[in-house]
């Protein structure tokens, strides 16, 4: 069984946020509004954050793209009282919208702020994409033609693409990748099997210095950042 992971090269990254927009587009993630931003109630499955250190003129800002880290020891899984969030065998942490009771424990537990609560009123049809799900033969079942409200949601590593790709015998990491990886113009992101020594992600991790965020919490997350 593969163990899917992502490697983000901060040296190549241009901070353009194509990943954030591509994710919204692919997964039909509702957009926010000025009021929602003020109350920190926007929904992102992926966001680029800025961390600034230093004083003028010796200042340094690191722009860090943040998907869900898909931790092998995920705090969100531990705290979920409804077993709505769990780890798949391939290491992807998923959220079962049918089981989620909207208690937000997982949001508190997640050290990366990767989770959002869907507050949208159901009658606001603007947040439903009117089209039907996309071509199943290409990327597999597209799970989000309409939205589920009152639940917590998060990045899925675009598992609908992976599952379909596997069924069709495609090479995951080369032919089939999550939307943020596919649409990164700097090609700063890679996706693949961390347990496969010949995969692109393993090659990068063995040849470059890398970090994971909040290593101190021992979450064993599967998103790695390459440094300069």
């Amino acid at each position: 069984m593969p163990r899917w992971g992502m490697v983000i090269d901060l040296d190549k990254c241009t901070g353009c946020q194509a990943c954030t927009v591509a994710c919204k587009e692919e997964n039909n993630v509702p957009h926010g509004s000025p009021e929602e931003q003020k109350r920190a109630r926007e929904i992102y499955w992926h966001k680029v954050i800025a961390v600034t250190q230093g004083k003028y003129p010796r200042v340094h800002t690191e722009l860090i793209p943040m998907p869900c880290m898909h931790c092998d020891q995920a705090p969100c899984v531990t705290v979920c009282p409804a077993k709505a969030t769990y780890r798949r065998e391939d290491g992807i942490i998923v959220q079962d919208f049918r089981r989620c009771i909207g208690c937000k424990y997982c949001m508190v537990a997640c050290p990366y702020g990767a989770r959002s609560f869907n507050n949208k009123e159901q009658e606001k049809k603007a947040y439903h994409r009117q089209d039907s799900p996309p071509d199943r033969s290409v990327w597999g079942q597209w799970p989000f033609p309409t939205r589920t409200h009152g639940v917590v949601e998060k990045c899925t590593f675009c598992f609908h693409r992976i599952d379909q790709g596997l069924k069709e015998g495609k090479k995951i990491g080369k032919e089939v990748v999550p939307a943020c990886v596919e649409d990164c113009p700097a090609m700063a992101r890679s996706f693949g099997d961390l347990d496969d020594a010949s995969s692109e992600v393993s090659r990068l991790l063995s040849s470059r210095s890398w970090i994971r965020l909040r290593e101190d919490l021992d979450t064993k997350c599967k998103v790695y950042y390459l440094l300069k």
Partner: protein
């Protein structure tokens, strides 16, 4: 009981009851897809190749269309300019297309009074009525031999629409065709022209570059073509054996600066001095490319004398505020790491002496021999579309086209200008050289994007009849007597190519991916039907080049590749590029690269102006002229374009708005960014509202303390402050262009954006 309560209850009681519609047995069993699934429907899925138009890069894109609805945009892998990649603006195309506040019918104004805050009282009318009304007015202008009193304005359009608009101007007989280029990078082009005779922006062979020296060039936010810079940035960093080095010289710590290896803050408006000092070090250390300089340049001795005599790094250190050691070090690196490129961006050259600054920076490339070779400056080749048939020149055209230009291009005032966009409002308001009777604006929004934005309001108010062509009611459309709803780029035919970047030629198709919204028509079709209604010479000039937009695009691209193949591939590429064309690339009197501009000299002689001093023809630094007294207005305003600003005149796109300023982690706003030390001195509180006042206006916005800003500078992002239409943009943020005074680069007519002084105080 609402759904959420129900969900909670069902989970708490442990009832595994599914909701009526949600679970199919298969997915409930498998662990892989525990999410709701809709019943399968017949779906028709298509991928259509077309191209983007959310900025001037016009990237090749593929759009996924399901049952007639566009759901996904991604890059076209066949495009080589950006290797099939696109920037986030391309994805936002879906919200441009499905903007819920677009207009679907021609709108006629009922309220004769025009102005900010006055309801135009739009009445929908039929296309027939709209076009007849326009055609009658246009005909009577021509019949009165007043063709030159028609003004055509255009912003960001497809190349095909630009070609048709300029055809219309020619056929109608007006010289007054004004693009938005005068607000963009005319000073860069003008600087290039002084050196090598190409009035065009530079292309860069980024695949092999080892060193980038960026003078105010925010490549990763507003570079052109943006997607190419984003792609190549990744390539330069880690996809070749040696990691390239980037140095950013800029008063603002931009995203590009954050991603560069080094950020060097510089006193605003002193980039030319720095470029000259770098040349000083390179020449003094004898590191210049002697082979290139000796064989293929002219005027080096005069340049050398000037550089060594006036621009020692120590003196320039005083001017620029950059330590002597830093200047010396980057000059040595620039000369020794090969190939290296020095790039200019708007921050360095949209100044009153912009052409000279552009010239000074460009000359550094010649000094190290980075001209027309792998990894250096290259010269853009464009697709050879089929020539348009000759147009019918009737007496009215002959009389009209020789009238003086409304924007004073090519006159004493702007002697080397191709277009002076921001001169237009003055000319209209003062009736110089003559009054304008009618104007048409295509996809432009100059009263948001031009410095001294308020002047455009006054000028538009004064035009007796203004027709605006746009998919939405932009700020400029508020002053229209008639609005024609045009299609977005995803609903129309066209052809396009990028601004200079790749070197080799690449053309892209635009084809409708979905049906047009309402009764919207493409600009090309509007002009074709208008020409038909006008008859006479205008109609004849529109003959033999297809009957409509599709026919026109087919006609013009027939020289490139078979139509079916073009539709299927979406791009046409001629990837060959020949380097080192030194014997034929320089369009200068000496046929060489000129450090002493023969082009400028002969132009001035032709115009009867003969400055005696050599300095006028050499790249040099002049102290910038600031608008506003330093005592009253201590700061310099720095308006900048973040990546998420679209260039189509609207910002009504939630995906762009919510992540508008990534460096500050906020959206739906812009901020008054100020150095934190300076702010503390002014006793401001981070996040409070402040007034920013220039001699030309004032605005109120939230202040943001920043460590990444030169202490003399106040930065405000452009793209916000819309007041016309749009739930997602109206009353959000402020428009810094309203504060900027009107000034020009006196050679190219480029509008100056960065030389206005402001003060800040608490509300």
């Amino acid at each position: 009981m609402d759904r959420r309560t129900f969900l909670k209850l069902s989970a708490l009681t442990g009832a595994a009851l599914g909701l009526n519609r949600v679970v199919s047995p298969s997915s409930a069993m498998s662990s892989s897809a525990p999410l709701q699934i809709k019943p399968q429907k017949m779906t028709e899925v298509k991928w259509i190749n077309t191209s983007c138009l959310n900025c001037s890069a016009r990237c090749a894109i593929r759009v996924r269309v399901i049952n007639g609805q566009a759901v996904k945009i991604t890059g076209n892998p066949l495009s080589l300019t950006s290797e099939g990649k696109v920037c986030p603006r391309a994805h936002i195309g879906l919200q441009v297309l499905y903007d819920s506040e677009r207009i679907g019918f021609p709108l006629k104004r009922r309220n004769r009074e025009k102005g900010k805050g006055i309801d135009p009282e739009w009445v929908p009318i039929s296309w027939d009525q709209a076009l007849t009304e326009m055609a009658n007015r246009l005909k009577s202008l021509r019949e009165a031999a007043q063709a030159h009193k028609l003004l055509l304005l255009y912003g960001l359009n497809t190349r095909s629409a630009e070609d048709i608009i300029s055809r219309f101007a020619e056929a109608f007989g007006t010289p007054n065709l004004i693009s938005g280029n005068g607000l963009d990078e005319e000073s860069e082009k003008s600087g290039n022209w002084m050196a090598d005779g190409h009035y065009e922006s530079c292309a860069y062979d980024l695949d092999r570059t080892q060193y980038l020296l960026l003078f105010g060039a925010d490549l990763l936010e507003s570079g052109k073509p943006l997607s190419r810079f984003l792609r190549k940035w990744g390539k330069l960093r880690r996809e070749k054996p040696n990691r390239a080095k980037m140095i950013m010289i800029h008063p603002r710590y931009s995203v590009t600066a954050a991603k560069s290896d080094e950020w060097i803050p510089i006193h605003p408006g002193t980039d030319a001095a720095l470029a000259m000092a770098i040349a000083n070090v390179i020449i003094a250390e004898d590191l210049y490319d002697k082979n290139f300089v000796h064989h293929w340049t002219a005027g080096f001795d005069l340049y050398k004398k000037l550089v060594l005599g006036h621009y020692s790094p120590r003196a320039v250190s005083e001017i620029t505020g950059i330590p002597y050691e830093t200047i010396h070090r980057i000059a040595m690196e620039f000369a020794q790491v090969k190939p290296a490129i020095a790039l200019r961006g708007r921050g360095a050259i949209n100044w009153p002496e912009g052409s000279y600054t552009s010239y000074a920076i460009f000359c550094l490339n010649a000094l190290v021999g980075s001209i027309d070779l792998p990894g250096g400056i290259i010269y853009q080749e464009n697709p050879r579309y089929k020539n348009l048939p000759p147009f019918a020149e009737d007496p009215i055209v002959r009389k009209g086209k020789v009238q003086p230009f409304l924007d004073f291009r090519g006159t004493e005032k702007f002697f080397n200008a191709k277009v002076v966009t921001n001169q237009v409002p003055e000319s209209i308001s003062k009736n110089i050289p003559y009054p304008i009777e009618m104007a048409m604006g295509f996809h432009c929004n100059f009263n948001m994007s031009a410095p001294g934005a308020g002047r455009w309001d006054e000028a538009l108010k004064k035009i007796p009849y203004y027709v605006h062509i746009s998919p939405f009611v932009s700020e400029m459309a508020l002053y229209a007597d008639l609005i024609l709803p045009s299609t977005t780029y995803l609903e129309e035919w066209g052809y396009d190519h990028s601004p200079p970047g790749s070197g080799f030629a690449e053309a892209r198709i635009k084809q409708p991916v979905v049906k047009p919204y309402g009764e919207a028509k493409s600009s090309i079709d509007i002009l074709f039907s208008l020409a038909k209604r006008m008859g006479g010479g205008v109609e004849r000039s529109f003959g033999h080049m297809g009957e409509d937009s599709e026919g026109f695009v087919k006609h013009r691209t027939s020289t490139l590749m078979p139509w079916k193949e073009f539709l299927a591939k979406g791009v046409w590429i001629d990837p060959k590029y020949n380097y080192k064309k030194y014997d034929r690339i320089f369009n200068t009197p000496s046929k060489k690269f000129e450090f002493f501009s023969g082009n400028l000299r002969s132009l001035l002689i032709k115009m009867g102006r003969r400055p005696k001093e050599d300095l006028h023809y050499l790249p040099h630094y002049e102290e910038a002229n600031f608008l506003g007294e330093k005592e009253r207005y201590p700061f310099i305003l720095h308006p900048y374009q973040p990546l998420m600003t679209l260039e189509n005149g609207s910002q009504n796109y939630p995906w762009a708005q919510e992540i508008f300023l990534p460096m500050h982690g906020i959206g739906w706003a812009n901020l008054v960014e100020i150095n934190s030390e300076t702010a503390r001195r002014l006793k401001l509180k981070d996040g409070e509202e402040v007034w920013v006042e220039s001699p030309f206006g004032k605005i109120k916005a939230r202040v943001k303390f920043s460590e990444g800003l030169h202490p003399q500078v106040v930065a405000i992002a452009c793209g916000q402050g819309h007041y016309s239409y749009g739930r997602w943009q109206r009353e959000i943020g402020v428009n810094p262009n309203g504060l900027i005074g009107v000034d020009f680069d006196r050679i190219s007519g480029q509008a100056a954006f960065f030389n206005t002084r402001v003060k800040i105080y608490k509300t």
